[in-house]
């Protein structure tokens, strides 16, 4: 920073007060004659400023003495001419110096007085405005003009010329003064005043913008290195080149001045910097410096050049220069600062990445552990460097850390980790040690190096005396170990052990809030997952004694469940419920658990216990799915045990509590299926109930049908009729199913004596446009059978002929109807059709034989009448046999065998026993008993 400030000051000085700087330098460093000094003060107003110093005024305070000096000079001017010319000139030269000095001091006094008067005037304390005093060298000028004419060839004449030029200059006659100076140079090349006057002329030309003339004047001085004006002349020559845009020569001139290491060293260096900054490219400027050869001040020049360019917002150029420094002077102590400036410039031009990498290099290359540091500060340290590097390390590592976190790039976070580690190794006594350790741990965590992160957290935790923060940090270590645990494929216990140690070390810190409990839960969980169930329970037992034991009970219940120890899990939940004083606490879990326990009981054959537990499961959480499942399970058991009474109660319970549940329907259907064979009426009732509660219309109708058919098959005709009617009302689909049900309904109605209704039902079936032929035929068959019953009822009474005629007509009609049935060509109906025909014919035969005898016949007549009847009946007997045989033949042909075939054979066996009666009854078949086996006695002794 010091360097920067100097450079800046120098530049400002160079820009705004260059002449003043020059003369201050002159007055400080050069021993010059009083006349020369006076001449300077006359030439340049700034010189007067110097002479205004109070010390000078105090030395010349004796105004009287000064006036005496003036008077002496004036007197000698009149009287001295009488002396020998050389003596006169020598004396005059000497006292002219004193005269000029006295006049100058007196003039200053006058000016001071004038300024005071003026101040009073401006304040209104003086009425008349004072007159500004003016220096008046007219006497000297007039006399010396004469004297130079008289003594121009005398020794010391150059001094007269010099004094005259000075007075003219002071008097304001500058052109005349320059003429006199130029005359002096032309005519007195060996004058002691030659180099001085050349320099003054150079200054005049420079001031008046006459650069070629100034170059000539300065160049004359620059040939004489011994001259006190040499350094300034070379320096000014540099300025001339600069003014003429010849920056290389300017650099050369300024470097010549700088190389002298005299008073203008700093200004010269600044000027070199200034000139270099005007080069076309900075590469060219650096190359020029290299060509000139490396100087001691070269790094400084480049650093100042970079700073200057940066101030001029020529950032890229500045960066090139800074980079040049690093290349040319790899061991320069400036390098950390140069790197920092380079990074800043990269930031300014928006190249954040380069800025980051530059600082990254800074951090890596100039830390106390580097060779650069050892070379520059062997065995010691430099606070400014350490401050910069450490600050950079922290900031750059944090930046990489944040960047990595934001973009998810682990490489960035890895850099941050590197940075943090270098920092910790380089500045072990830093006040930021804690924070950096923590950041390192965080970064390690972020890069998923959980093992190292955990270790770093633990280490950091020990650095923090603060309880809360320490607890937070240690908790982070816990989290890292936790992740390690869950990621580990083998040896998970290593993480758990580390956590145990952590908990022991930071127990007091964790106890301040509820974290300890949470951690213990997690540890318990880890033990559980590692198969160390006992250790898990040990941890949870600790928590059970704590302020908030509920979760511990909950967790331990889970453990028991995992172990398969459901009973203990149930106890834990019950305890939890007691503690919480909320009977609904964990009711879902408890119900589920009880359900599982019930399943185990059932699996083990302990049905009674299983039922009891299922009931508990339901009662624990009655409205839940588990409750519903428990009820359904119970229902299944009841079904298995054929305990339909309980099943129906249970189904009612399900319907009440779970209105939308299909469980009730499933149970009823399942129960129905179970009982369909052994207890069909109950099965039918269950189907009927299922139909009533089924939410699906189609299912309900199917169940209705199944129930009705079961009722029908088991002679519960009234119920069957009811359900079939309902079925026909609700079923929207026509076709076979509807025809069948209609047919069955017709049968039932007829069987129940509702013959008209039955006939109507069957007629409706026949009228159906899409009625199935099979059911149409069956319906027709049924109707005919009804007709046949009427036919059977018709007895042959007297008058015989008349009733015979009726019966004959009915028989023919029946046989005709059956023939029509046959036309349906439904094979399975044919045996029945023929059987029924056979039966009708047999009935006709029997009717004839059993017909009412006339009342007025004798016994003989009756016998004769009976013989006649038998003769008349016999053909029907033969016809019946043929019809039954037809049934048999058809069945063989159609490969159909049913009860009607069997019945036909039965009738044939009756009518023609020799031909058809065959014994096919095996001996009485009895069920097999299982007899007891003898028992052993050994176990009882």
């Amino acid at each position: 920073m010091r360097v920067e400030i100097n450079i800046k000051n120098n530049l400002e000085r160079e820009k705004d007060t260059r002449p003043a700087a020059l003369y201050r330098s002159l007055s400080r460093n050069i021993l010059i004659p009083a006349a020369v000094c006076l001449l300077f003060s006359a030439l340049l107003p700034s010189c007067k400023t110097v002479e205004k110093s109070s010390s000078i005024i105090t030395k010349t305070a004796d105004e009287e003495r000064l006036l005496m000096k003036v008077k002496e000079w004036e007197e000698y001017l009149n009287t001295g001419k009488s002396e020998a010319p050389d003596s006169f000139i020598a004396t005059l030269s000497r006292i002219t110096d004193e005269y000029l000095g006295a006049r100058e001091l007196l003039f200053k006094k006058e000016m001071e007085n004038y300024e005071r008067q003026m101040s009073l005037f401006q304040k209104g304390e003086l009425k008349k405005e004072p007159k500004e005093p003016r220096q008046d060298y007219s006497v000297l000028i007039s006399h010396f003009k004469i004297l130079i004419e008289q003594y121009r060839y005398r020794n010391g004449a150059d001094a007269i010329y010099y004094a005259l030029a000075y007075a003219l200059y002071e008097q304001g006659e500058r052109d005349k003064a320059i003429e006199v100076f130029e005359h002096l140079l032309r005519n007195y090349p060996k004058s002691n005043y030659f180099l001085e006057v050349s320099f003054r002329l150079g200054e005049f030309y420079f001031e008046t913008g006459q650069m070629p003339e100034a170059m000539g004047a300065y160049s004359r001085v620059s040939t004489t290195p011994q001259s006190v004006f040499y350094e300034k002349a070379v320096y000014k020559l540099g300025w001339v080149y600069y003014k003429l845009d010849d920056f290389k020569k300017a650099v050369d001139a300024f470097m010549t001045a700088a190389d002298m290491e005299r008073g203008l060293g700093e200004e010269a260096v600044s000027s070199v910097v200034m000139s270099l900054s005007r080069f076309g490219t900075m590469e060219e400027a650096i190359q020029h410096l290299r060509n000139k050869g490396i100087r001691k001040y070269t790094p400084l020049v480049l650093a100042m050049l970079g700073d200057r360019l940066a101030e001029e917002t020529r950032y890229e150029a500045a960066i090139i220069v800074y980079m040049g420094i690093q290349e040319l002077f790899p061991d320069s102590p400036l390098l950390p600062f140069i790197s920092e400036k380079t990074a800043e410039l990269y930031e300014r031009i928006g190249n954040e990445e380069k800025s980051l990498t530059t600082r990254w290099e800074l951090m890596r290359n100039y830390s106390p552990k580097t060779s650069w540091y050892a070379k520059n500060y062997p065995g010691g340290s430099e606070a400014s460097v350490d401050n910069l590097v450490s600050r950079t390390m922290v900031s750059i590592s944090k930046k990489y850390h944040i960047k990595g976190k934001n973009n998810g790039n682990t490489e960035d976070i890895a850099r941050a980790i590197d940075g943090y580690r270098i920092f910790l190794a380089s500045y072990p006594k830093s006040t930021e040690l804690k924070e950096i350790n923590l950041l390192l741990a965080e970064a390690l965590f972020d890069t998923k190096n959980y093992r190292e992160a955990a270790s770093a957290y633990e280490k950091t935790g020990r650095l923090y005396p603060e309880e809360q923060q320490r607890a937070d940090i240690a908790y982070s270590a816990f989290l890292a170990y936790e992740i390690m645990f869950y990621q580990a494929v083998e040896d998970k216990m290593e993480s758990v052990k580390s956590i145990e140690n952590l908990l022991e070390a930071y127990k007091a810190d964790f106890s301040k809030d509820d974290r300890l409990d949470k951690m213990l839960y997690k540890v318990a969980d880890m033990y559980s997952q590692s198969g160390s169930s006992d250790k898990a329970k040990e941890k949870l037992t600790l928590l059970m004694k704590g302020k908030n034991p509920q979760p511990a009970y909950e967790k331990i219940a889970e453990l028991y469940i995992k172990e398969g120890n459901l009973k203990s899990a149930e106890d834990a939940y019950l305890k939890l419920r007691d503690i919480s004083k909320d009977q609904n606490s964990k009711k879902g879990e408890l119900a589920g658990l009880r359900y599982k326990i019930a399943e185990e009981y059932l699996k083990a054959g302990k049905e009674k216990d299983g039922i009891s537990k299922l009931e508990q499961a339901y009662n624990t959480d009655p409205g839940s799915r588990t409750g519903e499942a428990a009820l359904i399970k119970l229902g299944s058991i009841y079904i298995r045990n054929r305990d339909m009474s309980n099943l129906e109660n249970l189904v009612n319970l399900i319907i009440r509590n779970y209105p939308g549940s299909e469980g009730s329907v499933s149970l009823l259907v399942e129960g129905g299926k179970k009982l369909e064979k052994e207890d069909p009426l109950t099965a039918a009732r269950l189907y009927e109930s299922a139909s009533a509660v089924s939410p699906h219309t189609k299912d309900a109708i199917k169940l209705l049908r199944a129930a009705g058919m079961l009722y029908e098959d088991n002679s519960a005709d009234a119920k069957a009729e009811l359900l079939f009617k309902k079925y026909l009302q609700e079923n929207m689909e026509t076709g076979d199913s509807e025809a069948e049900i209609r047919y069955r309904l017709g049968i039932i109605q007829i069987n129940m004596g509702k013959k008209n209704e039955g006939r109507e039902t069957l007629s409706a079936l026949l009228e159906g446009k899409e009625a199935d032929e099979r059911f149409s035929a069956m319906a027709r068959l049924l109707i005919i059978k009804e007709k046949q019953l009427a036919y059977y009822e018709l007895k042959l009474t007297q008058p015989f002929e008349e009733t015979l005629k009726q019966k004959t007509q009915q028989l023919e009609s029946l046989l005709n109807d059956y023939s029509q049935i046959a036309e349906y060509k439904i094979p399975e109906l044919l045996p029945e059709t023929f059987f029924q025909m056979g039966m009708a014919i047999e009935n006709f035969r029997d009717s004839i034989i059993n017909s009412e005898r006339p009342g007025d016949m004798s016994k003989e007549e009756v016998e004769e009448y009976t013989l006649l009847l038998e003769e008349k009946a016999y053909p029907y007997d033969e016809q019946a046999v043929k019809t039954y045989e037809k049934s048999l033949t058809v069945s063989r042909k159609q490969q159909i065998y049913n009860e009607w075939v069997e019945k036909s054979i039965g009738r044939l066996a009756g009518l023609r026993p020799a031909l058809y009666k065959r014994e096919f009854e095996s001996r009485d078949v009895e069920p097999l008993f299982i007899y007891p086996e003898p028992v052993s006695m050994e176990s009882n002794l």
């Binding site: 298995r640 045990n641 054929r642 064979k677 052994e678 207890d679 069945s891 063989r892 159909i896 065998y897 049913n898 075939v901 069997e902 054979i905 020799a914 031909l915 058809y916 065959r918 014994e919 096919f920 009854e921 095996s922 001996r923 078949v925 009895e926 069920p927 097999l928 008993f929 299982i930 007899y931 007891p932 086996e933 003898p934 028992v935 052993s936 006695m937 050994e938 009882n940 002794l941």
Partner: protein, 302 residues
């Protein structure tokens, strides 16, 4: 020998002392036997050896086993196992009255109720005392629903014509051992008797192995199939049975009937009827007439 006769008399005396009804009420041990003189007791090892010896003989030489157990009843009169096994031997010998007495003694000596009453049930069933049998079985079931008891009680109800109860118990037995063929066979018989031929056929099919191994069962199945109109299947069952039991005359008679009446195959009918006769079938007269009819039908059929 004299000693054995003495024992027998003692057993008879004790056996006659108890009745079934008393036994059912007598849950406590019989005071008389419980107080048997200590002098009659022998060394436990000796008793065990004798008991096991009896046990070995039950199957092949039940009489010898019976003698051993009678001796044992004197040596260790408080051991129910002795009476239980004695009853089992009597059941094997079809001496049901004796079996009843021994089983009641076993019950009085605190034989396990489930097993003892179940065994008693079979005794009563064997005696044709179906009501008693049912009561004994039900009592056994109150203690344990064992498979055998369930089958037996169902059988008893079947015999008693209480078909619904029979079905109920068969179903319970089935739930314990769904593949048990005895259950299905018994159910097949029940359904056949009930005229539920399809169900009968289903149950017989589930007992296929047993049916094939038992000629009567095969006939029952064939009969069921015939009534169901499955006369070819019935014929196949009979053919299989004939292959397995070629000397069973009835099989040929049944095949002849099927061929004649149901299949109108007079040639095979005649063949089987003749085989029936050649195997020594008892219905000679009837079958000879049938053969004549078959011949006539053959002639008529041309």
């Amino acid at each position: 020998m004299r000693f054995r006769i003495t024992l027998f008399i003692i057993l008879l005396v004790y056996g006659c002392a108890g009745t079934y009804k008393n036994a059912l009420k007598a849950d406590k041990p019989d005071q008389k036997t419980a107080a048997a003189p200590l002098s009659l007791k022998a060394d436990d090892k000796k008793i065990a050896a004798m008991f096991n010896n009896g046990l070995k003989n039950i199957k092949d030489d039940p009489q010898a086993a019976l003698a051993i157990y009678k001796d044992l009843a004197i040596l260790a009169p408080d051991r129910w196992e002795i009476y239980y096994n004695t009853a089992v031997i009597y059941i094997k010998l079809n001496e049901m009255k004796n079996a009843e007495e021994e089983m009641l003694r076993a019950i009085r000596r605190r034989a396990p109720q489930a097993e003892a009453y179940s065994a008693l049930g079979t005794v009563y069933a064997g005696m044709g005392s179906n009501a008693k049998a049912a009561e004994a079985f039900e009592r056994a079931l109150n203690h344990s629903k064992s498979l055998n008891t369930l089958i037996n009680v169902a059988n008893v109800y079947q015999t008693m014509g209480q078909n619904e109860k029979a079905v109920k118990y068969y179903r319970q037995a089935e739930s314990l051992e769904p593949e048990n063929q005895i259950i299905h066979y018994n159910m097949g018989i029940l359904f056949y008797k009930m005229g539920r031929l399809k169900r009968a056929h289903e149950e017989f099919s589930k007992a296929a192995d047993y049916v094939k191994a038992n000629i009567k069962a095969s006939h029952s199945l064939a009969q069921t199939l015939l009534k169901l109109g499955e006369y070819e299947a019935a014929l196949n069952i009979l053919k299989e049975a004939a292959g397995k039991y070629p000397d069973d005359q009835d099989t040929y008679k049944y095949m002849g009937i099927i061929y004649e009446i149901y299949m109108d195959d007079m040639e095979n009918a005649a063949l089987n009827y003749n085989t029936y006769l050649s195997k020594g079938g008892s219905k000679v007269k009837d079958v000879e007439i049938w053969i004549d009819i078959v011949k006539t039908k053959t002639q008529l059929n041309g």
